[in-house]
Point group: C2
Chain length 206, copies 2
DNA sequence: AAAAGATACGGACTCAAGTCCGTTTATGTC
DNA sequence: GACATAAACGGACTTGAGTCCGTATCTTTT
């Protein structure tokens, strides 16, 4: 993600581009790290795995981990990446109401429901990607994506303050908030879905 | 806060109460710690002060700090406590629209505006109280208080899912979210206030 | 006022995140 | 195929949060 945004920045500023492709050993180590992390998380749970554990298990130095992924949240984001991309594709080009074709308010509600389900299904990983450091969530590339999607739909629906409302909707769908509703308060997923979609509808009407 | 909730629990369960009052040395050390923390935060900023710094500056062992306040977020909460109590009093017994007398939707909007202003005014401290550990925010005593207040008002206004909507409103007003709006996106406080009060109104109508 | 028991003290200790920098390895060039 | 150099490596190191437990202090009881 660091590299992606760096590359993008360079593109935008028309600077001479850095190396377009990561070195072979770097790619190999990234893959080893992701594989090791996935295994360890599955075996012990996200919370019980340290970066040292991952580095050791991947047969890689700790510095390498941090160079590749920036920090713990970056590693989580990388692991989530492929699982997110299905949702992102469905939002951009899939069938309505998630994809284009339905009225914006319906698309927004569908997004909220789908995103809630996604967060619930990958709670620990999403939590790690959002809470590794304070404010991590808002700096995430994915957050930018979700937020922009919501903003555009709200805007298309004629809602006031689309940017702020988009942020508010995503704030309600934080991993820790969802965890609290689901596990501390024991709410069911359908219950949450219904409440969240209703909230988005109310924010989407002009 | 730990002690308060423990005492409350004992009350509720009618167990023989523990010591009603903290020991003299304990009270003295709590005061020393709070004073030292306040000074250091003012001098260097919240982020640049460690628990060791505070312990050393207060002339107190680190263990004492943790016994009194539980963790970093507990210390922040303790510092915030007296500043919050004004707001809490105004909500419970002050003049409308914040206090009783105004229609629930108006009271909710007034609360959101006042709480936003409070968070903005004590951003770093609130951030520390919310983000010291993952999920810290939702375990906070204050959070329970704000959340219940919102829930009751939403309920009185006849809104569906008052508990969930209350959580959603407060989720939009986390310190990191407010920091992002104010400092990363450069929004003004009135702009945020207007957007947030509008959101609460939309969630409050039946 | 002395002794007993409960409570609190404090700093050494553990554990994990994130940094640094001397060494190694890949890649493009002659 | 050897060389230059940019990039990547890896593990020791620093820093700070939170825990532990032997010692000191307070409070209550007699």
């Amino acid at each position: 993600m660091d590299e992606a945004s760096a590359a993008q920045r360079e593109d935008l500023l028309l600077l001479p581009a850095g190396p377009v492709q990561e070195r072979a050993d770097a790619a190999r180590n990234r893959a080893k790290a992701l594989a090791a992390a996935e295994l360890l998380f599955a075996a012990r749970g996200v919370a019980a795995v340290s970066m040292d554990d991952i580095a050791a298990s991947a047969g890689v130095g700790k510095g390498t981990l941090y160079r590749r992924f920036g920090d713990k949240s970056g590693l989580a984001a990388a692991l989530l990446d492929e699982r997110e991309s299905g949702l992102q594709a469905a939002m951009l080009g899939g069938p309505p109401p998630l994809g284009p074709g339905a009225p914006p308010a319906d698309r927004l509600a569908a997004f909220a429901a789908a995103y809630l389900e996604f967060v619930d299904a990958h709670l620990d990983l999403v939590a790690m990607s959002q809470t590794a450091s304070p404010g991590a969530r808002l700096r995430t590339g994915s957050h930018q994506f979700w937020c922009q999607h919501c903003r555009i739909l709200l805007s298309a629906a004629g809602a006031a303050d689309p940017g702020l409302r988009a942020g508010a909707i995503l704030a309600a769908l934080t991993a820790e908030q969802v965890r609290h509703w689901r596990h501390t308060e024991g709410r069911s997923l359908p219950e949450l879905t219904s409440a969240i979609t209703e909230i988005t509808r109310r924010l989407a009407v002009p």
